[in-house]
């Protein structure tokens, strides 16, 4: 038993206080304001509708039926939407996760899977990665409890769209932004109609967009706002467009703000966006003059994960090439002799190699295309600095793909454990991104060599094995993986591979659709 003076409750209270930013009355007032405005808007619109129907419809029986239906529909809608709304919009911002969990259980038609998913979503908000349930305890006591429906058998762990979304949210909260972004790309690869995100779509994408806005990554905000839906997403989209320098009407921005949820945390973003003139970007402060300062600026961007253009890195390499020209090195030799340094030529070569190492790091973190002149002027005998950089980048791309591919080269008969499924999925997304980068930078011919050399069989076998081992539980990710392999086969002219993988994709899709349909039927029957 914990004593009153123990630090844990105090710490928890402080944490809770920090969570709600120490402004409980304000927050409650705003929540109250939000509830009242939404309710008033709804009641006014509904009353106008009913009055119009009452005045315009002549037969008395129809008029009465419409009035009865009109009175029943809001009650029904309120009943269906009220619990999730109360749990997410009221309890979650106040940090009342316990009540949020309990309230969601009263949602009509919510299955046990939905309730568990909502609980996992609340955990993901605190940075807890989704995981399969712990193994069940065995024994007569447990059997008795299960018979009395007190202790239920845990549901099987599904790696579906919702799990992927929750995983992305938890990665974002934990600060692994690149991985979160990679996980969200799943939804761009997935065919429409198979995501089945339901109520998660407005909730989670809104939260993800908020996180991206907090760190000022407005491109990510725009992408996420486009994937999501709802009033909050409208505001985020307009804010992102404004920050990216597009013209957004002031009235539209304020209207989106007024109808959006979570207005308190939005108000600062909206007022910041208001201060921006049209076409103005918020740029990070940095130094842009001089070769060495540009070099350091690009290093700083690479270290912070800010996107760099690959062309910029190659232009920098060209500038270094001029700097290392013989005339400039003469100064180094002269100065070396002045201060009594030995082996100055060796030192100059060491500096060149160090600069090349740093440029390689920048190029590895950069996005975009390699300038055409670098690819055109490749000369094996006398390589310029840019060509040496290109050669290093090429080796690195091969190494990256190989390192990721090693994770998929499992011995035959070895099973991917349930607990490692999400890790496997993350690795696969990384591999997918590496291959796509490889293709973009090195072209189709080199990709073809890589594909037929090692990639094709390793990836194909790995997906088949995972689907055979886990079946419908991994149907969603298997479908996306097979679809990707089909696209790759089609791109490289492998017709046989494309046909087989198209059939595999269809198989996974059917499995997914059957499960979704069955689940819908069961929840209908239960309701």
């Amino acid at each position: 038993m914990r004593s009153k003076s123990s630090p844990a409750p105090a710490r928890r209270a402080a944490q809770r206080k920090a969570e709600i930013n120490g402004e409980m009355p304000w927050r409650l007032l705003l929540v109250y304001f939000s509830m009242v405005t939404e309710y008033v808007i709804f009641v006014v619109l509904w009353t106008i509708d009913l009055l119009y129907a009452h005045l315009s419809i002549k037969p008395e029986w129809l008029d009465q039926s419409i009035v009865i239906a009109g009175a029943a529909i809001p009650v029904f809608l309120t009943h269906v939407w009220f619990c999730p709304w109360l749990a997410w919009r009221i309890c979650r911002p106040l940090g009342l996760f316990f009540f949020a969990r309990r309230l969601y259980r009263f949602t009509p038609g919510a299955s046990r899977r939905d309730i568990e998913n909502f609980e996992a979503l609340l955990r993901a908000l605190r940075g807890v990665v989704p995981a399969p349930p712990p193994p069940m305890k065995k024994g007569p006591g447990i059997k008795r409890l299960r018979f009395l429906l007190v202790n239920k058998k845990p549901l099987p762990f599904l790696v579906d769209a919702k799990t992927t979304l929750m995983l992305a949210l938890s990665r974002e909260v934990l600060g692994d932004y690149a991985l979160a972004e990679r996980l969200l790309q799943t939804f761009e690869l997935c065919p429409p109609g198979l995501k089945a995100l339901g109520i998660f779509r407005p909730f989670v994408f809104e939260e993800l967009a908020w996180h991206a806005a907090k760190r000022g990554d407005w491109n990510a905000v725009l992408r996420r706002a486009r994937m999501g839906s709802g009033r909050g997403m409208l505001l985020m989209r307009l804010l992102a467009e404004k920050h990216l320098g597009r013209r957004v009407h002031r009235a539209a921005l304020w209207f989106a703000f007024l109808i959006s949820p979570s207005r308190r945390r939005a108000v600062r973003l909206v007022s910041d966006a208001e201060k921006l003139a049209p076409g103005e970007f918020i740029q990070r402060p940095g130094c842009r003059e001089g070769l060495r300062l540009t070099h350091m600026l690009l290093l700083s961007k690479a270290s912070e994960g800010i996107s760099i253009d690959l062309g910029e890195v190659f232009r920098l390499a060209e500038a270094w090439d001029h700097e290392f020209a013989v005339r400039k090195q003469e100064n180094l030799l002269r100065r070396g002799m002045e201060i009594g340094a030995r082996d100055v030529l060796g030192l100059a070569r060491r500096i060149e190699e160090n600069v090349l190492d740093e440029l390689e790091e920048m190029a590895a973190a950069a996005e975009g295309e390699i300038p055409r002149e670098v690819l055109a002027g490749r000369d094996e005998d006398e390589a310029s600095y840019e060509e040496r950089l290109f050669s290093r980048l090429r080796n690195r791309l091969y190494r990256d793909v190989d390192a990721l591919l090693d994770l998929f080269r499992v011995e035959s008969g070895e099973k991917v454990e349930e607990g490692n499924l999400l890790e496997h999925w993350e690795n696969w997304l990384s591999l997918c991104e590496s291959v796509s980068r490889f293709h973009r930078l090195l072209g189709k011919d080199e990709l073809s060599m890589l594909w037929y050399g090692t990639l094709r069989n390793a990836v194909w076998n790995s997906i088949t094995r995972i689907f055979n081992d886990h079946g419908y539980r991994v149907a969603f990710i298997s479908m996306i993986m097979f679809n990707w392999v089909t696209e790759m086969c089609r791109l490289l002219g492998d017709e046989e591979g494309a046909t087989v993988n198209r059939n595999n994709t269809k198989l996974c899709r059917d499995e997914l659709l059957v499960k979704q349909r069955v689940r819908k039927q069961i929840s209908k029957w239960a309701a």
């Binding site: 130094c287 350091m296 290093l299 270290s303 994960g305 201060i339 500096i351 973190a365 996005e367």
Partner: protein, 93 residues
Amino acid sequence: MAEKSTKAANFLALHLANPFLVLDLPPDSPPAAVERKGGLLLSLLAVGAGEASHYQTPFGPRKRTPETVRDAMAELRDPQRRLIHEWWVLDEE
């Protein structure tokens, strides 16, 4: 969003810990000036003078400690290491 590069962060940290930046000296300073400035900074840090606790870099102020000052002095005593550091803080033409 690109992934954060730890190696790039390490490279940048090395550049920002350039002894000429730490000691706030021009690259052509004679060894005696290096020793004198190092000694002065160590004394200031020992008495807790506020102005000595930070040094300016192109990316804003960084913390200066007695260890960083001693490391910087040691780096500049070796002519080869000094030449590399000088090269990195050269004025652009």
